[in-house]
Symmetry: C2
Subunit: 403 residues, 2 copies
Amino acid sequence: MAKLETGLLTPLGYRAAAVRCGVKSVADKLDLALILSDAPAVAAGAFTTNRFRAASVQLDQKRLKSKGLRGIVVNAGNANACTGERGLRDAEAMAEAAALACGARKDSFLVASTGIIGHPLPMDKILTGIKDASGRLSSELRAGHETSYAIMTTDTKPKETCAVIKLPGGGKAAIGGICKGSGMIAPKMATMLCFLLTDVKMERALLQEALSRTVEKTFNCVTVDGDSSTNDTALLMSNGAAPDAEIASRGKRYDAFCEGLYETCSTLAKKLAQDGEGATKFVEVNVTGAPTEADAKKAARAIANSPLVKCAIHGGDPNWGRIICAAGYSGALFPTRDVVLHIGRVCVFRNEMPTKDAAKAAAEMKKKEVVINLSLGKGPGNAIMWTCDFSAEYVAINALYHT
Amino acid sequence: MAKLETGLLTPLGYRAAAVRCGVKSVADKLDLALILSDAPAVAAGAFTTNRFRAASVQLDQKRLKSKGLRGIVVNAGNANACTGERGLRDAEAMAEAAALACGARKDSFLVASTGIIGHPLPMDKILTGIKDASGRLSSELRAGHETSYAIMTTDTKPKETCAVIKLPGGGKAAIGGICKGSGMIAPKMATMLCFLLTDVKMERALLQEALSRTVEKTFNCVTVDGDSSTNDTALLMSNGAAPDAEIASRGKRYDAFCEGLYETCSTLAKKLAQDGEGATKFVEVNVTGAPTEADAKKAARAIANSPLVKCAIHGGDPNWGRIICAAGYSGALFPTRDVVLHIGRVCVFRNEMPTKDAAKAAAEMKKKEVVINLSLGKGPGNAIMWTCDFSAEYVAINALYHT
């Protein structure tokens, strides 16, 4: 592994460990991790809005408001979703075993799972893995980086980042983060797990507000395939371990923290889109000038989710008609005569017809990063979506995932 | 061509002709057709809800209510959409040329186009084709069948059907239909063109009511990729040529007609899904027991549009978790504890967890026709969707369509 400058464990007072316990069927893949705060911490969370919530999500939602949280246990390879009462008991047992192995109070751990739906967790492997991991906890950056591997499923790359924040008025803090997600990625969270650690000292309510705002502007702007899963979870722990890094209320220090959190989450969110299943390209869709933000979001989402648009981008084909068409059926309201579409810097559509430059967009569509700028008029509504292209590889990955 | 028993031209008093005029770039493909009623007729229509409407759609919507309509001119290979003022003039000129070539009043023709977006119609080719076709009009079934070929774009098969109706109280009538559509197929109409001819005598308002009701239950239940286009058009002409086949008002005769229309449209709609771009399988999604019909539709649509579900069906993989997950994020409201999922005849999910039989669903998923039955509870809301699987071939077709 390359030497890391910063990462998940840059914030003070955290340790982590990742091990292989055998939940993933492929040999040599890490599949279980522990994250531990040395001191009691508070946590904020954002979860799937799917009506079917995984056992881990149900447990975390109940436990999130308790004080004195100490850590997170996570496995990949099995989602523990649609597993009924047994799933809830297993999630509970997994969290308890992790807490006790780390010498913490038995109800002080949160839990997360990702992988196949509808299979009971192999608890013997999980419990062995927890014991193993608890003996390997380390505050080295390497341990956080290994954790970013342990949460991967169909991801091809680990996703880790860190923001270091200078707080106005004194004090320095860090926000480290890792996430996973590749398929079942859609707005309203993704089959995404995201773990964020910070060493600021902050009240839980304020921490939750910061996370909720930021998730809306980052992870909820990512779509790979429009499917949003049963397990989506973002957790942000705050342990107050950095000296002089208390954020007592809204204000400049809080704003600086939110900026750092946005930097962390937007970096991770873009990594999700870049690593979409079968993705060969990254796509940013900017919609501006809509009558309302809701209209802008509808249009951006329809474009980013359109299989026809995503196939055209895959083929490097300047088929701007599909983009215009997706905006048109999105449900967004706008006068068609005001619509202007740019692909990269090339204006391809204006006055309800293609421009003379439309053919020049081919070069823009062939780039590894494609930017679509759609102006719907002079309204105040703007929205952004990040996605990827749609390849035959996506189909290959998903036609055979289960068996 | 195989001998046809019935088809588009089974209803009395209609003729058709299909020719190649060179709009499609591939040699030897028919790409322009005329449909003519010998006597003045009335017509009903259903159109795209996309904010960008093709020139042909705008013209038809204006002209639909006139009496004394005589025919339809249609081309494939160029959608005449997003073509500005010029496009509107071209659509007008195309309709007028067709009417005059058939010896009809110049504003008595409707028009339809399908194909690439944003290119002006090659009017010289179109006008030559219209002249050519007007000399070949025939009432033979063969001519209607050829017309079903002339409207194809990425379709792999022509789609034609006919219902013969015995009217209660005497009289016999027929409804013949053809349609096209393969990609950009989604609820709220499709890149679909559908032409329906009947020889009953009926007031326009009643005819429109019958068509609107039927489209909602048939074509609007089809999705291939969730994209709905700028050109979607279904037209139903009624010319009163059948003896004793007047339908003066709602009642038994009207109901019999509506049944025939449903038979025609549902047959064509299923053919659309079966011929979805890259499709290897046909999928029917039935949702029952939802609190409202709107909830049932949301769930059915989310399942039918989910790339993950469609990839699983392509792979013949009993990944029922993706079906449950799609229902969960669809926005439909339902208590998860009441949900029961069958794939074919196999119950795979009940009591919030998989059944012991879940593995047996593999055989059902490997069938050419996959039926998904999802019960959300004991509510009155039901919905059905028809779709196809998602293959690497879909991506191949759509990555390179434009150039």
